[in-house]
């Protein structure tokens, strides 16, 4: 199955709504779609650790050369440092928005001048660690950084996991909300 959206615009920001059971697959399909369009991709992961993401990407034929990751969960779960990895920054704690913000800002600055998209996986898993009020502020911060740099962004969320008021706020930060479930899926060969 390939990613069902075909008219993604280069520097636009999207809120991608999917079923909880599809989030892992949507992450992979989005990366494949973005790499096929010559993007460099910065993934902020709050749920799947770097080692698992890398393995899943490689298993699905995704080369890691143009994929950069801010991993907010590995170090917290392990309780100690992960061995250094060239294309990944490990943040201490998924609730530490300042450190995540710094890691994202530095990673985006390092990709300045390139065609970049940020993939945030996911709003819902981050809600375990920070309040809806703070996650709204954080996403506002990230979308502002993306707009300043003319970068694209995709925020993955589980459609039934967000309060309508929070969802309304989030939609004001993005250009479009895409509900994957409501798009007819096209089987690839």
């Amino acid at each position: 199955m390939e990613f069902p959206i075909t008219d993604i615009k280069d520097d636009e920001i999207y809120l991608i709504m999917a079923l909880a059971s599809d989030i892992r697959n949507e992450n992979i399909e989005l990366i494949k779609m973005l790499l096929a369009r010559d993007y460099y991709v910065l993934v902020i992961t709050t749920n799947q650790p770097y080692d698992v993401l890398k393995k899943n990407y490689e298993k699905r034929g995704i080369a890691m050369e143009k994929v950069f990751i801010v991993d907010t969960i590995t170090k917290y779960a392990l309780g100690h440092d992960h061995e250094p990895v060239k294309n990944c920054r490990f943040v201490n704690n998924p609730a530490d928005m300042t450190s995540i913000g710094i890691a994202v800002t530095e990673s985006l600055s390092g990709l300045k001048g390139k065609k970049v998209s940020l993939l945030f996986d996911s709003v819902n898993s981050m809600l375990i660690y920070i309040s809806s009020q703070n996650i709204t502020k954080f996403i506002h911060f990230i979308t502002n950084r993306l707009r300043l740099l003319n970068f694209s962004g995709m925020f993955l969320a589980v459609e039934k996991g967000l309060d309508p008021d929070v969802l309304t706020q989030l939609t004001t930060f993005v250009d479009e909300v895409v509900d994957i479930d409501k798009i007819p899926q096209k089987e690839s060969g």
Partner: protein
């Protein structure tokens, strides 16, 4: 009736009017105070209701939805194990993450309960300790 008696009656009536005016003023004051108290109670009730709704909404997002995240993650781990699709160190890491997620969800419950306890004067100390301990 002589003039003196008329004058006395008028004085009595004036005194009665003054007393009634005073009584009306007192009653107006009482009604005004009661109305103000009622308004304050309504406001407090509205605030309490708003807080309760905010609690329910935040609880749904920070408890129900995260539990679904953990459920999905565990289902993925089980699937990976059943299909021998994951290295033991990755399975271990993914399970550690779910433990951390569950720990945080428990902390979120306590935090949300604390917010309720802080605004509720009617709970016993034992109930407060149970909700936030």
């Amino acid at each position: 009736m002589d003039t003196g008696a008329i004058a006395e009656t008028v004085r009595d009536l004036e005194s009665l009017v003054a007393s009634l005016t005073e009584l009306i003023e007192v009653q107006e004051k009482v009604v005004s105070e009661q109305s103000e108290r009622l308004k304050q109670n309504e406001e407090a009730l509205r605030e309490s209701n708003d807080r309760f709704l905010a609690f329910i909404k935040e609880a749904a997002m920070r408890l129900k939805n995260p539990l679904e995240v953990v459920e999905e993650n565990l289902a993925i781990v089980v699937n990976d194990i059943e299909h021998s699709d994951s290295e033991p160190k990755n399975v271990s890491l993914q399970l550690r993450i779910q433990i951390k997620n569950l720990e945080q969800i428990r902390k979120n419950i306590i935090e949300l309960n604390q917010a309720i306890v802080d605004h509720s004067g009617e709970l016993s100390e034992a109930s407060k300790r149970f909700l936030t301990g």
